[in-house]
Symmetry: C2
Subunit: 193 residues, 2 copies
Amino acid sequence: MNYPGGIKKENNPSSIAKTLSHKNRGMTLEADLNITNEYYRDIDKAYIYKKPTPIKVTKVEYPSRKDTIIKEAFFTIPSTTDYNGIYKGKYIDFEAKETKSKTSFSLNNIHKHQIEHLKNIKRHDGIAFLIIRFTTLNKTYLLLIDNLLEFIDNNKRKSIPLEYFKEKAYLIKDSYKPRIDYLKVIDDLFGGI
Amino acid sequence: MNYPGGIKKENNPSSIAKTLSHKNRGMTLEADLNITNEYYRDIDKAYIYKKPTPIKVTKVEYPSRKDTIIKEAFFTIPSTTDYNGIYKGKYIDFEAKETKSKTSFSLNNIHKHQIEHLKNIKRHDGIAFLIIRFTTLNKTYLLLIDNLLEFIDNNKRKSIPLEYFKEKAYLIKDSYKPRIDYLKVIDDLFGGI
């Protein structure tokens, strides 16, 4: 990854801003979160990792005693969310998703058992949420599981309108370091944790 | 998996005990932990999962629009431990290993960065430990990261003798449900968490 980073768009000449903005579109939410979590670890703030993608291995070969090559495997449905870890002694758990839509986030993007999982975490006193990026709008929101459930309980539609995010979720500002400072939102929400 | 489970060896006629003991040898620590964690989830006690094995995918094929087959991939070194989750609001993190040795557990079985990771978790007020099974002796111990570090700091040898486990670690009793009740040890150690 050769993303230059380091420079806040708004503080820079338009030519650089253009370059950055262009490059920024290429950065996935996952890449941004990986950089952010690495930064949190570097400054000893939090230890939050992305879990490996679950893969079912069905065929392996051993070309030498030391090497194993997987020759056939399949992606499987994750049983939990993608990210978890610890921050100030609290258990943190979230799922991150991007949407190209400018108007809503489809609930089809989240597995039912992932919502169940986040509910379980919340009930056991963990901090559970979604991070949703509207890529076309370049807006990234943190939506607490409580607000997700509130929406599901009170609506029949299968997608959450952007308006709901504006009202109930928390906008995560882009910055240089960390890229997506979602723990700032957690600090603001849970104050003295 | 056709393990019958359900019957404590010591309470049963020797013929059954023999069968169970034989089958028991076939049950890996990982399988026992998976069953245990599933049980904890079923009774809504704790939400602790094994992370997927990290795999680097280098070649995929798409035989149809919906299907993806991985045709070449490699196992990679995990950046953290295998298990983590939440129990009574606390962040739990551990690595589980088996050894056939009757006398010691080789530290080569644990990556350095995994020890670093467990140290970080402890410093941030999580509960961090190893679960080590001496398969030949059929003994499973829980060793807190503090005691692991104490050993490393005070010894030059690259393996922890069984005696150290007897002295500093906590024996986890086999039972029916859950198979390996390691949270019982956590309760005993951390009392009112």
